[in-house]
Symmetry: C2
Subunit: 242 residues, 2 copies
DNA sequence: CGAGGTGTTGAAAGTGCTCAAATGGCGTGG
DNA sequence: CCACGCCATTTGAGCACTTTCAACACCTCG
């Protein structure tokens, strides 16, 4: 037994990939690796931030909630994604709430450690800048989508993002969490999602069986969805969002 | 004649306020101060970024546009705000388009200069991080609003943000640009804006005469709008967005 | 005074939402 | 192995809000 279980995962993360091995080993030794069950609330909006998290596996919902219980889903994070970092610039308070939506294993980075790194290590703060800027870019895309696309188009766009865009024909994928959650992520009701998916199926020839979606042609799908989007189709790596 | 006209303005900007005077003087000498007429397109989405801009006065619309001409307004920037910085993290290409919506004077910072600073000056990159993180936070709020609030509530929220929230009673303000632009910023049609504003007037007792809005009580307005928002009312400085 | 831009109003059509009920898959326990 | 019950999802019907297209009012400017 040599190093903390967080080490191997952090090593692959862009924020840490350039680090000296011993340095990272020490850093990782302060980071716990924890597994959380579906439904667990990680933190709430405006809580004092004790940790940043990196998702090793599973899925985490970021959301905000009114006092009456209406909630807006901001994002759903999967493996490799960072959360909680925005608390650094918000008086050490989280800027949204987080809940586990599929059993997840997370690396917990103590905030003081993270903060010190950001302040003292220029490569680190540039890496962080890149991540946050990309995130902001993604949000621009979300705002655009919610302004311009209708429900079936937004679902099409979502499926394209989930898909392996290097393929063109007969792509099959699994929606990795509840459909109602996808609906919320796309800013619509579960009922609307269901009906819109049916319409999408009818209009673009995709097949849906439970969580499994088969897309005979990504082109048909992108022609359908990307008409109402400022980016052109093979958009996954260039621009976050469709 | 002592220093570039950009100097005095940059000096007041958080990104530069901590700088040594001579250093800033030199930096400012490379930055032009230009005035642009309403309607002028500053840059387009995906253009190679030659400059970052700081708004000295006037208003600039940030937007994205589909090939068919549908556009989504992402934000409208006023005095003190920075734009174009996200190109640093997008292969030196702007991530949206920008157009002058009210005659504006802007400081033009050459991108290489800006980039070098971000890479070499840790205080600078931390300041940038703070600005971008705040911007992302603001977008979270926008996404939440578009998901949860209806048209009159979004307008109420917009007016509150425009208002001096330290006052409580009889606050009066001027909408600084076209109403149709406000409508687009809030993700609705001009007609919807007009009707929703009439409803808001009726429901909260505000007065509207042309671009002038008088609000007898901010509390009534915030009770009306902030029900569907995760932040509580005096929200201007804490959280960007309502 | 007329023209054009800006904002408002009306009527009809969509789109998505709400509430309610039905369907279907799946794991548990008999 | 089957019946039951639970939960996610789908379907139905009516409604609310927003959009669309069209017409009109208003103001400013030439």
């Amino acid at each position: 037994m040599k190093h903390s279980p967080a080490f191997a995962i952090l090593q692959k993360h862009p924020l840490f990939s350039g680090w000296n091995k011993d340095r990272l080993k020490e850093f990782a030794s302060y980071c716990g690796l924890h597994t959380y069950a579906k439904g667990k609330t990680l933190f709430l909006n405006e809580d004092i931030a004790g940790f940043c998290y990196v998702v090793a596996s599973g899925w985490v919902k970021l959301y905000r909630e009114t006092s009456e219980g209406h909630q807006a889903v901001l994002d759903i994070l999967g493996a490799g994604q960072l959360m909680g970092e925005s608390a650094l610039f918000n008086e050490n308070a989280y800027t949204c709430s987080a809940e586990i939506v599929e059993e997840a294993t997370l690396i917990r980075i103590p905030m003081p450690l993270f903060k010190a790194e950001a302040q003292n290590n220029n490569d680190f703060s540039m890496g962080l800048l890149k991540i946050i800027a990309r995130y902001a870019h993604q949000q621009n895309a979300d705002l655009e989508h919610s302004a311009l696309q209708n429900a079936p188009q937004r679902i099409g766009c979502y499926l394209l993002r989930l898909a392996d865009q290097t393929q063109e024909k007969d792509v099959t994928l699994e929606i990795p969490y509840d459909k109602a959650l996808v609906a919320a992520r796309l800013g619509m009701q579960p009922e609307t999602f269901s009906r819109a998916l049916a319409k999408l199926k009818n209009d673009t020839g995709i097949e849906v069986k439970g969580a499994t979606v088969s897309m005979p042609s990504l082109k048909v799908l992108s022609d359908y969805s990307c008409v109402m989007c400022s980016s052109d189709f093979p958009c996954k790596d260039k621009t976050p969002g469709c």
